[in-house]
Symmetry: C2
Subunit: 217 residues, 2 copies
């Protein structure tokens, strides 16, 4: 309150729309990850965000739109994090390693975002599954490019182009599956998780059971 | 029609309950895989099965129960197929190979069952996701036992027990992801699919880009 008693309380202060939208989306990701799409309530989003329900509807639409926007934002963030982590000039194993590190670091730092992207969006299905599948597709394309280029460099041209995309699908599935397992085993560090997967897909069981270990150079 | 005009038409002939139930479940798997849980109608199940709706309700319950029973039956069949494919006396790579072959053969022969188990059950969520997760858990336990025993045989006791279950989660995720991709790429044979995955997880990229290939002995 100022001396003249006219200033509204802090939580309704005028903030730029972009800031409000971020507050709302942050709150929505929290609420959706906790309760799932169906059980989540706009009242709780409003409470957590400290933004009135009418303002949420005006800025981001109804629950359905809000959920789609959460998925869109978190999918873009995740892809950006992985892209930034990978450097094309590195050898293929180091590119993969940095990509996996970036992925698991994102999941560690944005556990709620991952829960919404992976668990909630899939179980709701419908239009949301489409958005998540588009994300998977882009992640798979990233990995496939890496696999094909690594194979081509070794003169495996056609064979690599044929099986590369399928191997990328397998690898992305393995990485997701492990991230999902991780939600229930938070005691394992993101580095350990990434190195398990790296050892599996880079060296393979054959080398692993002989005691070989892959390590970043 | 017999001479006395009393025999009912063929489709309502009295059949043992077990036979009827199988017909209904076969039809339901078809219908659910085609339309998804929400859009599937009991009328269509009744048409495809050639069994009246009241009989379906009496034998297997409402749509919800029917869907749960489809998942239960197909999950048990899939696990049984994989278990039968694997022989504990074989070396670990051959056990894994036969397990993967059996899995992809099941998917090839029961494409609709896999669609219901993997795509439909997950997108419906709720009580059905629980049943599918129980199936995944059993598949993961199977693979984990294989990985841990292979590692332990090589004297990696504790390390294998620590990372084995996580590697199994990754492997099952890779196998599922590839099976899902396969629904949209039916031109690839089940043997090729299994050998891609085998090469990935047994040899690893490092060996693959050097042109090495894993082959069943």
């Amino acid at each position: 309150m100022t001396d003249d008693g006219q200033r509204p309380p802090a939580r309704t202060r005028r903030l730029p729309r972009a800031v409000r939208e971020r507050q709302i989306l942050d709150a929505a990701v929290q609420v959706f990850s906790r309760h799932g799409y169906h059980a989540a309530s706009m009242d709780e989003v409003s409470d957590v965000a400290g933004v009135s329900k009418p303002m949420i509807y005006a800025y981001l639409g109804a629950k359905e739109d809000l959920f789609a926007k959460c998925i869109g934002r978190e999918a873009a963030r995740l892809l950006e994090a992985v892209r930034t982590g990978v450097h094309a000039e590195l050898p293929p194993d180091m590119q993969l390693w940095h990509g996996l590190r970036a992925f698991y670091r994102f999941v560690a730092e944005h556990r709620e975002a991952w829960t919404v992207l992976h668990r909630q969006a899939l179980t709701v299905g419908g239009q949301f599954a489409g958005e998540v599948n588009a994300l998977r597709k882009r992640a798979i394309d990233l990995v496939a490019a890496l696999v094909v280029s690594a194979g081509t460099r070794q003169g495996l041209g056609e064979a690599a182009e044929f099986s590369g995309p399928a191997l990328a699908v397998a690898l992305v599935g393995a990485a997701e599956s492990l991230a999902d397992w991780w939600l229930d085993h938070p005691d394992v560090s993101d580095g350990v998780l990434a190195s398990w997967l790296m050892n599996l897909v880079w060296l393979g069981f054959n080398d692993l059971v002989e005691g070989k270990v892959w390590r970043p150079q």
